[in-house]
């Protein structure tokens, strides 16, 4: 979505335009769900948090600043809702054992996620990510998966860009260590999953 289209959408959203909402929903729903699912390690929790993110978005739509950037707005709300969710549940920091919670249950045919996760490399990467502390996980998800710059991710997480860079550096080291804990050296794994 280019900036001009984004500004037009924001203007229409401020007037509560349903079609504009549908466009934003189509552009961000899967991305937000993936972020929340991998952050929480639970499909159910991610669905609830996603619903609340969208409801907050439409309730605040008329108050959006005309120059609002939609991605940071949405990811900040989603991330903050996840923080509240964790506080309310006093959850453990990692969810390595909860990976299966992301898989659709009772599906007659394997979803793309199931098929790929069955792949050893993907499974190991997913497990390693899930075993990281939540602050490291959210940093990696925002920067590596969402493609945000460390500065943008810092704004979403409410920390300084420098703190985000440090967090990313630690997260990357931890991820490498966890992947190396298996039998295959990290570089081999990364080559397999890098185009």
């Amino acid at each position: 979505m280019d900036r001009e289209s984004e500004l037009t959408l924001v203007s229409r959203l401020r007037a509560a335009d349903t079609a504009a909402f549908d466009e934003v929903y189509a552009a961000f729903n899967a991305r937000l769900f993936n972020f929340l699912a991998r952050l929480s390690g639970s499909r159910e929790a991610a669905e609830d948090l996603l619903e609340e993110t969208w409801l907050r978005f439409v309730r605040q739509a008329h108050r959006l600043r005309p120059d609002t950037r939609l991605a940071p707005w949405l990811f900040t709300v989603a991330r903050n809702l996840h923080v509240s969710y964790r506080r309310s549940r006093v959850l453990e920091d990692s969810h390595a054992a909860g990976l299966m919670g992301l898989w659709p249950s009772g599906s007659p045919v394997p979803s793309p996620f199931e098929s790929t996760a069955a792949d050893e490399t993907g499974r190991r990467l997913e497990e390693a990510l899930g075993a990281l502390p939540v602050t490291s996980r959210e940093a990696l998800l925002l920067v590596a998966v969402e493609g945000q710059s460390p500065s943008e991710a810092a704004r979403v997480c409410g920390i300084s860009p420098e703190a985000m860079r440090q967090r990313l550096s630690r997260a990357r080291a931890m991820l490498a260590k966890k992947l190396d804990a298996g039998n295959e050296p990290l570089l081999k794994v990364l080559k397999e999953v890098t185009p």
């Binding site: 991610a46 619903e51 439409v58 739509a61 793309p112 098929s115 990467l125 493609g147 945000q148 490498a176």
Partner: protein, 72 residues
């Protein structure tokens, strides 16, 4: 590390993680709820505009036009 995440090979590998999709039924319900909120907002804006219009009309009617005020 530069500011561009694409420069980082380790991080780029995570982009290959498969997309997980939310359940369709749930999606539909969420969209419907959001549409309702937006519809309520449009209705509220329309009503507010009408009320403000009426108030503005009344004020205009009460205030005499400058040309109607007798000049000394």
């Amino acid at each position: 590390m530069t500011d561009d995440p694409r420069d980082d090979l380790d991080l780029r590998s995570l982009r290959e993680l498969p997309l997980i999709t939310p359940r369709a039924g749930r999606n539909q319900r969420v969209r419907s709820r959001c549409h309702e909120v937006l519809a309520r907002r449009r209705w509220l804006s329309a009503v507010t505009a009408q009320v403000l219009g009426v108030v503005r009309d009344q004020r205009t009617r009460r205030r005499p036009h400058p040309a109607a005020v007798p000049q000394e």
